[in-house]
Subunit: 196 residues, 2 copies
Amino acid sequence: MAEPVRPYHHGDLRRALLDAAVVEIAERGPGSESLREVARQVGVSHAAPRHHFGDKRGLLTAVAAEGFERLAGELRAAWAATGSFLELGVAYVRFALANRAHFEVMYRPDLLRGDDPALVAAREASAALLYGPVGTVADMRAGEDPRAPAVAAWSLVHGLATLVLTGNLPGELTSDPEALTRAVARHLFPATRPAG
Amino acid sequence: MAEPVRPYHHGDLRRALLDAAVVEIAERGPGSESLREVARQVGVSHAAPRHHFGDKRGLLTAVAAEGFERLAGELRAAWAATGSFLELGVAYVRFALANRAHFEVMYRPDLLRGDDPALVAAREASAALLYGPVGTVADMRAGEDPRAPAVAAWSLVHGLATLVLTGNLPGELTSDPEALTRAVARHLFPATRPAG
DNA sequence: TGTACATCAGTGAACGCGCGTTCACTGATGTAC
DNA sequence: TGTACATCAGTGAACGCGCGTTCACTGATGTAC
C-alpha cells in the first residue's frame, strides 16, 4: 500500500505542462486558462512552470509554436502525399479541429510573445507551405497582387475551421468536416479544374 | 466653479454601458474585459450594470446581439444598393474591421447566453442575408448540398476578416481592406462571372 | 573512486490585486385616485 | 392639485475567491579534478 513516491524531479515537466495547458485552454478558452490550474493538473507546485516558461505568456507562446510546427508537418505530409491543393486545405481544417487549443492560441497574438524565435520560425514554415503550392492552382490575372490567391485560400479554410469550432454551422454539415471542406473549397479556383 | 451635478438617474445607462464595454473589449480582448472597469468608465457604481444586464454574460450577450443587428443592417443596405454578391462580402469585412469588439464577441458563444431571444433573432436575420443572395452567383452541381456555396462565401470573408484583425496579413495588403476583399473574393465562383 | 562545488528543478509560503456578485439601502420617478 | 404608494435605478460596503508573481529555500544532478 505504499504510495508511489513522486520523484523530486519530474522527468519531462515541460512536456507535461504543455499537454495540461492544452486541455485547460480547450476547456476554459485561450487566455482564461489558469497557470495554477495547469500546475495542479500535473501535480506540481504552481511556481514550477516558471523554470520552463518564465511566465504565463511564455507557456502560451510555447503552445502556439508547437501548434505551428505540427501544422507545418501536416501540411507538408499532405502535399507530399497527394500533390493536391484542395487536400492541403482539408489538412488545414483537419488540423484545426483536432488541435483546437493550439489553433486558437496560434491566432491570438495578443496573448503571445510575438518575437519568440521558435514561434516566428514555425509560423513562417507553415505559411511557406501555403504560398508555394497555391501557384499550381490559381488563375492569375494581369496586374493582380500575386498573394491574392494564397490569401483567398487561407481565408477560406481558416474561416471554415473557425466557424465550425465556434459552432456556427449546422451539425449535419460539421459531422463530416473533411467532406464539408471538399464541398466548400471546390468553389475556389474552379476555372483551372477539369469540368467534372 | 460648481461641479456639474451628476443626476442620480443616468438617462441612458444601458447605452453608455454598451459603448464602454465595446471599448473595453477592443482593448483587453473578449472575455478579459472587466465589468467593474466598464462601470468605472461610465462613472457609475459597479453594481449598477446589474439592473440592465443581470450579469457580465448578459452584457456580452447584448453586445453580440447589437453586433448581429448592425451587421444585418449593413448587409441589407449593401445588397439593396449594389445587388452584387461580391459587395456583400466587402460589407461583411468592412463591418468586422469597423466593429472589432462586436465582431469578436459575436463569434464567442462560450461567453454568451445562446438562447437570448434578441441574439437569436439578430443572428438569424444576418444569416438569411447571406444564404439568400448567394444563390444568384454560385454554380451548383448535381447532388451537392445547396448550403455549400453559402458556407464557402461566409468562410472566405469570415476568415479574411479574422486574419486581418489578428494581424496575420502583411500591412501592404491590409491598408486597403476593401480592395483586398475584392481581389480575394474574385477567386470564389469565378465561373459565373463575365470573363474580364 | 571520491569529493567539492556549481547548477538546475521544484517547493511552499506570502504578496497584493482585481474581480463578480450579493445585500440592504436610498434617491427618483411614475401612477392611481 | 395633492398625496400615498409602488416601482425602478443606482449606491457603497462587504463577501470570498483565485490569480500571477516573487522569494528564500532545498533536493537532485552533473562535472572538474
